[in-house]
């Protein structure tokens, strides 16, 4: 069988796999309250990064290792890991909520910018990939603080973008209301 025919079969298999995936329910759909208070300042978990970084510092760990018994050092290491995983999970929650908010805005807009949509898609894929790598590193007992920092930057960046988008939407709505009022006023004048 020629290579091109194999590629055709691979294309069909990939399409079927994507079809199955498209029919699977989304994991984050259950969280109905994504527009609630949790969505306020979207960087709420990201702001704790400084404290997390302090708790994970190599110097602190070395200090503990030099003075405390091995059992306590192990326990501290496990706790640090647990905290990092929890923080990472919450960070992802923030990211997901922001993405969903962005989707709602896109869906309700009469026109969408292709570049903007693709950029968000790229960003979410990159976040997802990084998230998995960092989580894997944490579970393997390695602490990748630079990567955590990278994730933190992505969240902050997206939060900034969302604030700008919300501001723009607010301005548009205000202008629409103003235009409507002007038109009504003119109608009344004519009558």
């Amino acid at each position: 069988m020629s290579t091109m025919l194999i590629l055709l079969f691979v294309a069909v298999a990939a399409l079927l796999a994507l079809l199955i995936w498209a029919f699977l329910p989304r994991r984050d759909r259950g969280d109905k309250a994504f527009l609630g208070p949790k969505d306020g300042p979207a960087r709420q978990h990201a702001t704790y990064f400084g404290a997390i970084r302090q708790a994970m510092s190599e110097e602190d760990f070395d200090f503990l290792a030099a003075r405390a018994p091995v059992r306590m050092v192990r326990r501290a290491h496990k706790e640090r890991q647990r905290i990092a995983v929890l923080y990472l999970t919450e960070l992802r929650g923030d990211f997901e909520r922001l993405l969903r908010l962005a989707r709602v805005i896109s869906v309700l807009s009469p026109e969408v910018a292709v570049s903007h949509e693709f950029e968000r898609l790229r960003l979410s894929m990159r976040f997802s990939w990084r998230y998995r790598i960092v989580l894997l590193g944490l579970h393997a007992g390695l602490l990748f603080l630079p990567q955590l920092s990278g994730l933190n930057q992505i969240v902050s960046q997206l939060a900034f973008r969302m604030e700008a988008a919300m501001k723009e939407l607010g301005e548009r709505a205000a202008i629409a209301a103003e235009l409507a009022t002007t038109l009504n006023r003119r109608g009344l004048d004519v009558c």
């Binding site: 399409l15 994507l18 190599e58 989707r103 969408v112 950029e119 235009l179």
Partner: protein, 249 residues
Amino acid sequence: MTAILQMALLFSLVARRNASSYPAFSAYIFMTLAQSGLLFVVIGGWGFSSLASWGVGWASQFLVLGSRALAVAELCRHILGPFRGVWCLARRIFLAAGIIVLFYALAAAAHQWRLALTTTEMGLELGTATVIVLLLLFARYYDIVVAPPLRMLALGLCLYSCFSVVNDTILERWLNRYAAIWNTCGMAAFLGCLLLWSRAFHKTVPQAAVQPVLLDRGVYLKIIPEVNWRLRSLDQQLIQFWRLEAPRA
């Protein structure tokens, strides 16, 4: 068997008033039924291997494929149509993806000119399947709920297209040995899809209850240059963000 199911489905579409909501899909089912009848008459009159049967067979097949493409377009409009911005974006992507995949399939199998028609059909089927998968991915990405009848309709159309690609590819490669099985497999797959579509349209499919309220187009056109400028400046800031070095632990 398939003819009976086709008639039953067509009758159900008309009786349950789904034909007015899904005219392209109803036309597609009608076309497949008409093709079966026409081929039955032509093959009965001139024989299976005659030039007339070959010509009528392929001409009707491309008409059926065209009507299926319209049914897919109708499906896309039903799912994404209410959301104007996303729909405009999706239309361009679907069209581009469909054309790219069609040419890919033609390039992948354009080694035998005697099978050019089968290859073109295969390309069209692959393009159709790609568009449907993209449609469902779009709906998933934007959290757009797809009603169960539309899901079944999409599933049937996509599975049939995927099956047709595989069936046609095998036929191209092992023409003599596979010709007898090819027809039976194709009919079985179509029968399965007809059952799925009959289940989807066994009662009147409700229309979208509420149209989403969008911002006024004039307002958008007035403000968009400024928004684009802001987006560009934000993008510049994003690039600067990406260039930041991660702090050392």
